[in-house]
């Protein structure tokens, strides 16, 4: 889609604000200000984590029947293993598996037909994941529904360890600890660490605060009653897993996280796929945060409205702002370099390419002290929650995450923000 005038205006406005901020406060104080938000957010997470004891798996009074719902669209390479792992899950009560073939054009349907003991909904028209789940909800017999992506393989005891967290009627969903499936490449390993961090420390802490922002798509267990009461999945949302989480909480349902329930999902193998995934996620986050802006700073939604939604959003936009600041700084340097080259030319002085000296400002110590200590603590807690050991091979991806991944993610936020402003078409 073409670039719209307002997108361009927004872009220029960002540059102008950055330039003014640099001019008035110097970049160092701006970075300090943003770092203070980082610091406060990080502290909130840690105090919330320390305040509340991470729960053991509760002892359930009963084991309700579960319907596993797997929407499948062109997943011939993963669907067999996915359904088999879902079927292999241990559970103390009845489990039915419903797979929706969303008009796949590959051999998914044939593969599914070869698997015994599952119900197949064969759609003739492709309607998307959310619509698939909604149609499965109509025939699901279980009191709980467990939605699993067709490229995700739950561990044997995932369901057994998630369901007990439905301790009362107000719990609408229980999320799982999502990890990358067999990360063999460096890139996969990095994403695995990121998932462990996000679903380990952060999702667990958010659920302790009743402030989770997402019921992640790879696998999540819902109370069917709650899902139906809020009207099922939104079929026109690009991140329906965030939308449903916000809608459940808007309707006073709670989201709990079980870090005991490990599931393994296939992560993007190439940068291109990764960019597509992130653009979808982050655009969805921006879109849904604005869609549910009534939750922001509303009294009845506690930490969700007062902390997790607004502060993560501020940080994400802060990271975009830092990118702009850096870009403006680089641009200013570039202009100066050109000026220097020109004045050298004016007197026929042959100057090898002039590069301004790189200066590490001491305010960077504040930024790195904050981000590194937050990151280090969150990593330590996450490894503990996931019951994994930090091994030597984890060091290179960790270093890469610290040095570059943040910049990559910030870039994705920048692209997502402007695509969202531009209202560009969504691509899956």
């Amino acid at each position: 889609m073409a670039l719209k005038a307002k997108t361009l205006m927004a872009f220029l406005a960002f540059i102008l604000i950055s330039a003014i901020a640099i001019e008035v406060f110097t970049i160092y104080w701006v970075v300090v200000a943003i770092t203070l938000v980082f610091l406060f957010t990080g502290s909130m997470f840690f105090f919330a984590y320390l305040e509340t004891e991470v729960p053991e798996i509760p002892k359930p009074r009963k084991w309700p029947a579960v319907s596993v719902i797997i929407p499948c669209y062109n997943s011939e390479s993963t669907i067999n293993k996915c359904v088999e792992s879902a079927k292999a899950m241990k559970y103390n009560s009845k489990v039915e598996v419903i797979v929706i073939n969303d008009a796949s054009t590959d051999s998914s349907l044939e593969i599914l037909k070869g698997i015994p003991g599952i119900k197949i909904i064969d759609k003739k028209k492709n309607e998307g994941k959310a619509a698939g789940i909604n149609s499965a909800l109509k025939i699901a017999k279980g009191e709980l529904v467990c939605c699993i992506d067709s490229d995700t393989y739950p561990s044997m005891d995932a369901l057994q360890n998630a369901v007990p967290f439905f301790t009362d009627e107000t719990v609408g969903a229980v999320t799982c600890l999502i990890l990358a499936n067999e990360p063999k490449t460096f890139f996969g390993h990095m994403q695995n660490l990121e998932y462990m961090l996000g679903f380990g420390f952060y999702q667990t802490t958010l659920s302790l605060m009743d402030a989770a922002m997402i019921t992640p798509g790879p696998m999540c267990v819902y109370s069917k009653k709650a899902l139906l009461k809020v009207g099922g999945y939104d079929e026109h949302n690009i991140t329906e897993d965030m939308e449903i989480a916000l809608r459940l909480q808007k309707n006073s349902y709670k989201i709990k996280a079980s870090h005991y329930a490990k599931v393994y999902t296939v992560v993007p193998g190439t940068i291109k796929q990764w960019i597509r995934q992130r653009l979808r996620w982050y655009r969805g986050k921006i879109y849904n945060t604005l869609k549910y802006r009534e939750l922001l700073f509303s009294r009845q939604h506690g930490f969700l409205g007062n902390f997790s939604l607004p502060f993560t959003f501020m940080l994400e936009m802060g990271s975009v702002f830092i990118l702009f600041l850096v870009a403006v700084m680089l641009l200013e340097s570039l202009v100066f370099v050109v000026q220097v080259m020109l004045s050298a030319m004016s007197i026929n002085y042959s100057l090898a390419l002039y590069l301004p000296p790189v200066i590490i400002h001491s305010s960077a110590i504040f930024f790195f002290a904050t981000t590194l200590s937050t990151f280090g603590l969150a990593m330590a807690v996450s490894f503990d929650l996931a019951k994994e050991k930090f091994r030597l091979k984890d060091i290179p991806p960790t270093v890469f995450i610290i040095l570059f991944y943040g910049i990559m993610v910030a870039l994705m936020w920048l692209m997502s923000l402007f695509k969202e402003i531009n209202r560009s078409d969504y691509t899956w």
Binding site: L39, F40, I359
Partner: protein, 216 residues
């Protein structure tokens, strides 16, 4: 009621930030300390050389003393030229501390060195060539000054007897103002070579070289 987690987080953030700022301040102070001691060295060296001039009048072997003075001048002008880069770097990377005092004492010491060289040329008949070089330190950034600085570096590398003294015109230094009126300086970059040839504006090596007697 505000949840106590918020209060704890705010309190912790403040303590953490203050602690880090304290550490930054210590580190900055340490690097400033190193610069200050170098500036003190420079001042002492000039004082010592002045002392040698006192001795000179009574010494029998004047050439020997002159040689010692010249050695001191050579090494100190080399050190001073490097020091300004270090001060610039430090000023750009240091956070809260004000640098004006430090810079003033450096430039003052550099000016003293200039007069020392002048004296050495007169008393000892040395062939030191002096270039007073005026530039702008703060914004708007002066691109010509970068080029002029490089050219002067090259000249200094070629001719060991050329001593350059760089002074910012925007630091509110009294003696720099005096120099400016004395030599009719009205722009940056500008240069005064051997106290008589004035260049207002960027000057190429070809323009400068005829005005100096290049030696080792």
């Amino acid at each position: 009621m505000v949840n106590k987690i918020y209060l704890k987080a705010v309190a912790f953030s403040i303590v953490f930030a203050l602690a880090v700022f304290f550490i930054i301040n210590q580190l900055d102070a340490a690097s400033i300390g190193r610069l200050e001691s170098k500036i003190t060295d420079s001042q002492l060296s000039v004082q010592e050389s002045n002392l040698f001039f006192e001795i000179l009048s009574e010494a029998s072997d004047k050439e020997k003393v002159c040689e010692i003075i010249q050695q001191k001048i050579d090494s100190q002008s080399m050190k001073n030229a490097g020091l300004i880069d270090a001060i610039d770097q430090a000023e750009k990377s240091i956070f809260i501390v004000d640098f004006t005092g430090l810079k003033k004492s450096y430039f003052l010491s550099n000016a003293e060195l200039f007069f020392l060289i002048k004296k050495s040329n007169e008393v000892c008949n040395e062939n030191n060539q002096t270039i007073l070089y005026f530039y702008r330190d703060a914004k708007p950034l002066c691109s010509d000054c970068i080029v002029q600085g490089k050219i002067l570096d090259e000249i200094r590398a070629k001719c060991g007897n050329v001593k350059t003294f760089a002074f910012p015109i925007d630091l509110d230094l009294g003696f720099v103002e005096l120099f400016k009126t004395l030599y009719g300086i009205d722009t940056v970059p500008s240069m005064v070579i051997n106290e008589k040839n004035v260049f207002n504006g960027l000057a190429s090596e070809q323009e400068i070289m005829p005005k100096i007697q290049c030696g080792t």
